[in-house]
């Protein structure tokens, strides 16, 4: 049973909490298959999306999820917000909070931004990706997609391939996959593997050994916008060694599945015929994303009034400290 006030990350969640999130998400899938794709559950609730980084899938997915639950969804993108006039994140969030939203969805380039806000504003905060830290709803939709296809979520070998260093998707997935009892492999060039990768699982610098006999191959987008510091000699060289093509995929288990959080760079980290091939679950991931976000909104927004009196002290204490400082 998931009874937390916020969804900030998957690190530290128990096996039961993760599975209950996935189970709940599984029951919401059916709603998107109906002719009338809407239930009245969050009628009269307001969800605000605060996106400080570009996003197509995640932002649209949260908006569709909120609307399918009958909540009102308002999105704020950084280039059109007052942040371009110099307003700080905290001031923006406090002003939004003053309009009494029932949940705040935030994506920010700074790791920890959602945690910072969760301590300072009154409504549930959902992390939609913070820096290179976590992207919990992405990992949950990955897990739901694996379970749909493979039938289980334990004792699997999962190879995560590519730009591990910058990947918040990896961090969320590593925490959840390990908590559920799976083996994780981190595959990529040394410059794109953080020092802590060895503590997460087996490290491979060779794509072929990395995907050999894997049940799941999770490809990551090469984050070109974060490549300022010469991590790679060239894109060409990267793709020559780390692009998942049919020959490399053939080394994985015969019924292995291929995933990618999107957006994909065709021909860079994944070959088109693999991305569009029979083993690819990329579109199912996107479909499941809506169900996962519906489940999270349902669980967090509905809890608010009932939970308010017994919110842990620490979450109430932060604004007091802030007033003394500021």
């Amino acid at each position: 049973m998931f009874t937390r006030r916020h969804l900030l990350g998957l690190e530290g969640l128990s096996r039961e909490e993760i599975l209950s999130l996935i189970d709940t998400a599984g029951t919401f899938k059916e709603i998107s298959d109906r002719d009338i794709k809407k239930v009245p559950t969050l009628r009269g609730k307001t969800v605000v999306g605060l996106f400080y980084e570009a996003s197509t899938r995640t932002r649209t997915s949260f908006e569709i999820a909120a609307k399918r639950l009958s909540a009102d969804y308002v999105n704020i993108s950084a280039p059109t917000s007052s942040s371009s006039k110099g307003e700080t994140l905290l001031d923006t969030a406090r002003n939004i909070s003053a309009m009494r939203p029932d949940a705040l969805v935030i994506r920010h380039s700074a790791s920890g931004a959602p945690h910072f806000l969760a301590k300072r504003i009154d409504c549930p905060v959902i992390n939609a990706g913070d820096g290179a830290h976590e992207h919990p709803t992405q990992a949950l939709l990955d897990l739901l997609t694996i379970r749909d296809k493979v039938g289980r979520l334990d004792d699997l070998t999962v190879a995560i391939v590519g730009d591990i260093l910058h990947s918040r998707v990896t961090r969320s997935n590593v925490h959840a996959l390990r908590t559920l009892g799976n083996r994780v492999r981190l595959v990529g060039p040394p410059t794109l593997l953080p020092a802590e990768a060895a503590a997460w699982g087996e490290v491979h610098h060779d794509l072929r050994s990395g995907v050999r006999d894997a049940d799941v191959v999770m490809m990551l987008r090469l984050q070109r916008e974060r490549q300022g510091r010469n991590y790679l000699p060239s894109l060409d060289e990267y793709s020559r060694y780390f692009c998942l093509n049919r020959a490399a995929l053939a080394l994985a288990k015969p019924d292995a599945v291929v995933m990618h959080p999107g957006p994909i760079n065709r021909g860079v980290e994944i070959a088109s015929d693999v991305a569009d091939g029979a083993a690819s679950l990329i579109m199912q991931q996107v479909t499941n994303g809506v169900a996962v976000r519906m489940a999270i909104l349902f669980l967090l927004v509905n809890r608010v009034r009932a939970a308010a009196p017994d919110v842990p002290v620490a979450e109430h204490a932060a604004p007091e400290r802030r007033r003394k400082v500021g």
Partner: protein, 182 residues
């Protein structure tokens, strides 16, 4: 606080009530041709299965059946002390223009039925919706009535009705539970 249990239907009583309801449904709808059954989670699902079994035994054709979870349609979600678990809805056939029998174990305030009717309307437009319940315990808070009732059971507000079924509890019975003061 101690509780006192009183059996109001035994296994045979449950069986007779469901057999009669099945006959009444088939009589009113002139067979199973256009009939579908939807059980309300959780106990309505098992009771719907029993009615479908009986309809099949009588008519030789098994009418389709589905499951509806009304959690997302509840009118008290914002007051619930804990977010209830959602188990999902499974209706694998169109309900448009069908005669639909909605099945639940106990009819009480009528709020569950209201929620179920709202949920059904999101799936289509049945020709008619008929409500079948094993127990009607009274105390309606909404203008809702059942078309088929296994047993009308006058109750006090401090009493509760528990339906036990073989599939879950190992035996069929209905008991009235009253909390004893002191």
């Amino acid at each position: 606080m101690a509780t006192v249990e009183r059996q109001v239907l035994d296994a045979l009583g449950v069986e007779r009530a469901l057999a009669r309801i099945a006959h009444e449904i088939l009589e009113r709808n002139k067979g199973v041709d256009n009939l579908v059954f939807i059980g309300v989670r959780s106990l309505g699902v098992e009771i719907a299965q029993r009615l479908v079994d009986k309809a099949e035994a009588i008519e030789g054709i098994r009418p389709p059946s589905g499951i509806i979870d009304i959690t997302l349609y509840r009118d008290d979600l914002h007051r619930a002390s804990q977010t209830p678990l959602v188990h999902g809805t499974t209706i694998g056939f169109p309900i448009d223009d069908r005669a639909l029998v909605l099945v639940d174990d106990v009819l009480y305030t009528g709020r569950t039925t209201r929620a179920a009717l709202d949920a059904l309307m999101d799936f289509g437009r049945p020709r008619s919706v008929q409500l079948a319940v094993l127990i009607d315990r009274g105390h309606r808070e909404l203008p809702i009535r059942a078309d088929y009732v296994g047993k009308n059971l006058p109750t006090a507000l401090n009493e509760s009705v528990e339906v036990r079924l073989k599939e879950r509890d190992g035996r069929d019975e209905v008991v009235l539970i009253r909390a004893e003061e002191g």
